[in-house]
């Protein structure tokens, strides 16, 4: 699957052979999954992400539990999450909760380590330590309409209806061969099919689950309480084309109410673990306009406005062990990006992108300083593309100006409020043989302290510096294709060093903490991904084996007894197996995920060892093709799917104290037209 995708991007050399530099990527994504090709979609994002090499998903359990992703032990704050090329972020704590996104919203998910260097990308994409791309895909509808409706549900009272409908306005022109319409989309890489000039996409989904799954606590079995979720997402997007360019605008709204079950600790019988509840309402509008102004020059303009509201309360009336909190937060951000690319020569391009962003956080927390931040990022990139080799060099500058309301004044103050960083990176790619590619990169990136790090009333520290991540990586790709067989192998050794890591330290009691730049982490790792496929006749068989090795060591203080120990929650070894067989509408998918020994603390002693676990899921599906409608353009289909998750009912935890569900089943019925 991957080999085919890569070829799609590279095959568009034909239209403007002189300016092949326009559409080629310097280095490919480490992971690139096309979800629409999967016979049946998993219910949760983590099911897709946790099998990627080098990725650690922190999952607090259940459909509604917090889920964050950490790539190559840099820390989740260094991973940028991009929805159709625009970053979704959270200045408050820089944790994007992936439980808010479901896989069926996306056509394609990609993971880049280090360098992504595609023309007309935003400056933020150059700055992120690693980048996770969630692409919803541009509906390739020449005319008429199409849609998908799905109803999923299953254990723990889970219900999840989903609907998506695309409508084309106007008729698609026959595209001129060699013209810009025929090229692959420079941003997403999707082939631009003969698409109608204007396409409307509406989608919505609702999720409800009671989260009451059984788990074992020493000798007893308990049931997870207060882990229920109700959420609703509604989206509308317009995709349009103009001569030599295209644009899209999207409105996204998400609301949810959920409980946090809390860590499983010893609790007196009458007291619950937690009665905490959180309600969220997120709205954003974002848009992109890319235009090729001439054969050599193109630009992209992007904007985003987001407004996120959170209400968090501990409800001590239901839990006498809770400290009373009833807090309301509102975050707003406004973002503008202007990307330019010049094809100076047939093998040399220059890209310049600049982003500006404004973030503001308001809350009714006592003594809150209402932080605001203006940040600007400018990225200058130069790319060389020859027939068998690429070279790219980037220089990124990030400046952030913070302001906050001091208690006695209504105005901004300007102490310790400016932070800046220069982020250079270099990457090279070489393809000596048709079946062998190699690339290498070196990158230095920074992440700013979050608002919580700086200004949280009980723990903030306004003297914090940005945290830096230095990455060195090498990738070797082998690929082979003979007849119906394909095989590929990726080997990726790497070395990362994170300095000035922002760490929370309790002061005199566990209720008073402080944030300090004291950590140093060194990571030596290697990813291996081997994939094979057999596609012939009715059969489509695929097998992917992944293995990751990560030695992530604490190098903060040589006098400390934890110096040189593995940092918490990072396994030394992890692996996954994905196998799928598809024939005549039937599909069978087998996933196994193995996480090796980890420690819950930097003291790597047996008391804090978390034993390895292996989880296996099985998905079975059948697609029935239905008779065409009267006008006969598309063929509707009805699919049935059943998932058996954790079929061996293993009890396991990703984060200590947060048990994950045991065996459960999910069913789905999907209608496409």
């Amino acid at each position: 699957m991957e080999a085919v995708q890569a070829q799609q991007v590279q095959d568009t050399l034909a239209p403007a052979a002189v300016f092949s530099v326009k559409s080629r990527e310097t280095a490919r994504a480490a992971e690139d999954v096309s979800l629409s090709d999967l016979p049946s979609a998993p219910l949760q994002m983590t099911e897709v992400l946790q099998r990627f090499t080098g990725v650690q998903v922190k999952d607090y359990g259940g459909v509604g539990g917090l889920k964050t992703v950490n790539v190559r032990s840099l820390g989740s704050e260094h991973t940028g999450i991009f929805l159709d090329g625009i970053q979704v972020d959270n200045a408050q704590n820089m944790q994007v909760d992936l439980s808010r996104f479901s896989p069926e919203q996306w056509e394609r998910i990609r993971l880049y380590n280090g360098n992504k260097s595609l023309r007309l990308q935003t400056a933020k994409e150059y700055a992120a330590g690693s980048a996770l791309y969630l692409d919803s895909g541009i509906p390739d509808l020449p005319d008429g309409s199409q849609g998908t409706a799905r109803l999923s549900g299953g254990w723990f009272g889970t219900i999840h209806p989903y609907i998506r409908w695309d409508k084309a306005f106007g008729r698609a022109r026959r595209s001129v061969a060699g013209g810009p319409d025929d090229a692959a989309d420079p941003i997403s890489g999707f082939r631009r099919m003969r698409r109608a000039p204007l396409v409307l996409r509406l989608s919505a989904d609702y999720t409800q689950t009671n989260g009451r799954y059984p788990f074992s606590y020493f000798d007893t079995t308990l049931v997870r309480e207060n882990g229920d979720l109700k959420s609703l997402r509604i989206e509308a997007a317009l995709y349009g084309r103009v001569r030599g360019g295209e644009w899209n605008i999207r409105l996204y709204s998400y609301g949810s109410e959920r409980g946090f079950p809390g860590p499983v600790i010893r609790r007196a019988m009458g007291f619950p673990f937690s009665a905490e509840r959180q309600a969220d309402r997120d709205i954003f509008v974002q848009g992109t306009w890319t235009q090729e102004w001439s054969a050599r020059y193109g630009s992209a303009l992007r904007f985003k406005y987001a407004n996120n509201y959170t209400h968090y309360a501990t409800h001590p009336e239901k839990n006498p062990m809770a400290l009373y909190y009833d807090l309301h937060y509102r975050q707003q951000s406004a973002y503008l990006s202007w990307a330019n690319s010049w094809a100076l020569l047939d093998f040399w391009a220059l890209d310049f992108s600049t982003d500006a962003q404004y973030n503001k956080l308001d809350a009714d927390v006592a003594a809150f300083v209402h932080p605001q931040r203006v940040s600007a990022i400018a990225a200058l990139a130069t790319r060389f593309h020859w027939e068998k080799a690429n070279l790219a060099a980037h220089l990124v500058y990030q400046g952030a100006w913070d302001g906050y309301d001091a208690k006695n004044a209504g105005a901004w103050t300007r102490e310790n409020t400016f932070r800046q960083a220069w982020m250079p990176s270099l990457s090279a790619f070489y393809r000596p043989l048709e079946w062998l590619e190699m690339d290498a990169f070196a990158k230095l990136s920074y992440r700013l302290p979050t608002f919580n790090d700086l200004y949280y009333a009980l723990i903030g520290n306004t003297n914090l510096r940005p945290e830096s991540a230095m990455q060195l990586g090498l990738n070797l790709y082998f690929q082979l294709r003979t007849g119906p067989w394909t095989a590929s192998l990726r080997l990726s050794p790497y070395f990362n060093r994170v300095r000035d890591k922002i760490v929370a330290i309790p002061t005199s009691s566990q209720f008073r903490w402080s944030m300090l730049n004291i950590g140093i982490v060194e990571v030596l790792g290697g990813d291996v991904k081997a994939a094979g496929g057999y596609w012939a006749g009715d059969w489509r068989c695929d097998l992917t084996l992944r293995y990751s090795y990560q030695r992530a060591l604490d190098r903060t203080n040589p006098d400390n007894q934890t110096y040189g120990n593995q940092i918490p929650y990072i396994p030394l070894h992890s692996a996954s197996v994905d196998a799928s067989v598809v024939r005549k509408g039937w599909s069978l998918v087998w996933n196994t995920l193995f996480t090796g020994t980890r420690w819950s603390r930097t003291a790597n002693i047996p008391e804090y060892e978390i034993k390895p676990w292996t989880i296996t899921d099985l998905r079975l599906g059948k697609e029935f093709m239905l008779p065409r409608w009267k006008d006969g353009t598309t063929q509707p289909s009805l699919s049935l799917g059943v998932s058996f998750n954790n079929i061996f009912n293993r009890s396991y935890q990703i984060v200590q104290g947060y048990p994950m569900p045991g065996f459960n089943m999910m069913f789905s019925v999907t209608f496409k037209w």
Partner: protein, 392 residues
């Protein structure tokens, strides 16, 4: 090398003949220097040390040092089934043949036998913090879900002043548990905000109201000790003013109560107050009080002038205070550590054994350092966040 180092530091596990689910690698036993063992074995069976554990991780543990053998055993008690002791062990005290532990974030007061660590009772108390005893009852302070939200409004002169917007049972209470029946009594006494330490002397309870959860800039730390008559046990009889943010209250015998005040992490540093139960008046006696141990007529303590400096190492020193004199800094022992939390001093003839707990980086196991005759003689690895002693 590292593995051997940890194995050497881990004590033998089964000295109390206690039920225990041990670690996967059996540790080699280690022993306190024989001289120390001999000095104390006759008069002291041993010392219990309670580790708080990291909040939210169910990692409170109880350790025991036995002088006869010199073994320091970690994690000597687990409830039935080898389950965890609980989350945030905050106080440990011995009465008769029983050891009472207050497990703050589990809402449990755990009672076990002193001799074989077998379980006697687990009593449900909301947010319990510290414990004291008289002949009939155990008294436990509780935060009772105390937190106050406030916002700032401008008063008529344009100054920003805090205004309490909402609260839920803001003040703490003292619960009592019948020593024989182990039943929690329905009758409680309301005290101040976030009550911490508690001590009993001559028919009265002394409770420190720390007030630590109200936010800066006023800090709103408490600075009083509430006095309650145990006969009536219905309301606070009087309030005694002490230093800001009082934490531990220790009965020193002979009508003496000592109170440690932690300070406000800013202008006011930590201090030690003395209350005579005859007059119920307090007076400051010592400065820089990280931890204290009352030993007969003397209060021994450790402190650091740079106690609020979170980024650099703290310069600890030992001191003592007697009824007759002022606070006296001691050059011996030369105390050092990263994040010292608790102190227990035992005397044998003219020699002193200083046992000092160090919480290290607060998330990894801490250590218990032994200073004997002025020298650092030994060190044991403890559980996470050690700091609470009860000596037999």
């Amino acid at each position: 090398m590292k593995k051997i180092f940890f194995l050497l530091l881990a004590g033998a596990m089964f000295l109390c003949a206690c039920q225990k689910e041990g670690p996967s690698v059996p540790p080699a036993p280690s022993r306190l220097p024989a001289e120390i063992c001999q000095a104390f074995a006759e008069n002291h069976q041993g010392v219990f040390q309670l580790n708080e554990g990291q909040m939210g991780t169910n990692s409170a543990t109880l350790d025991f040092l036995r002088f006869a053998s010199g073994h320091y055993s970690r994690d000597v008690f687990r409830p039935d089934g080898g389950a965890s002791l609980g989350d945030v062990g905050n106080d440990v005290a011995i009465i008769g043949d029983e050891v009472w532990m207050v497990i703050n974030n589990s809402g449990i007061v755990q009672v076990i036998s002193k001799t074989d660590c077998s379980e006697i009772a687990a009593i449900q108390v909301p947010m319990p913090r510290n414990i004291a005893f008289d002949d009939t009852y155990a008294y436990v302070t509780s935060w009772n879900g105390a937190y106050v939200t406030s916002t700032y409004i401008q008063d008529t002169e344009g100054n920003w002043v805090p205004q309490i917007t909402d609260y839920k049972n803001p003040k703490g209470v003292v619960y009592r548990i019948n020593l024989e029946t182990k039943q929690l009594d329905a009758q409680t006494v309301e005290v101040g905000y976030q009550p911490e330490g508690i001590a009993y002397d001559g028919g009265k309870l002394y409770v420190a109201n720390s007030g630590g959860l109200q936010l800066p800039p006023d800090s709103n730390y408490g600075k009083t000790v509430s006095v309650i008559e145990t006969d009536t046990f219905d309301s606070v009889e009087t309030e005694v003013e002490v230093g800001v943010n009082p934490k531990n209250v220790i009965a020193g015998g002979s009508n003496r109560i000592f109170v440690t005040s932690l300070g406000d992490y800013g202008a006011n540093h930590s201090s030690l107050y003395y209350i005579s139960t005859l007059t119920n008046r307090a007076s400051k006696q010592a400065d820089y009080v990280t931890a204290v141990s009352v030993c007969g007529n003397t209060v021994y303590g450790i402190g650091a002038e740079n106690e609020f400096d979170w980024e650099g190492p703290k310069n600890y020193f030992a001191w003592k205070w007697t009824m007759t004199g002022r606070q006296q800094r001691l050059s011996s022992p030369a105390i050092s550590g990263t994040a010292l939390s608790g102190l227990c001093v035992l005397q044998s003839g003219d020699d002193l054994l200083w046992m000092v707990t160090d919480q290290g980086d607060y998330v990894n196991p801490g250590s218990l350092d032994f200073y004997w005759k002025g020298e650092k003689a030994w060190s044991e690895t403890t559980g996470i966040c050690p700091g609470h002693f009860a000596a037999l």
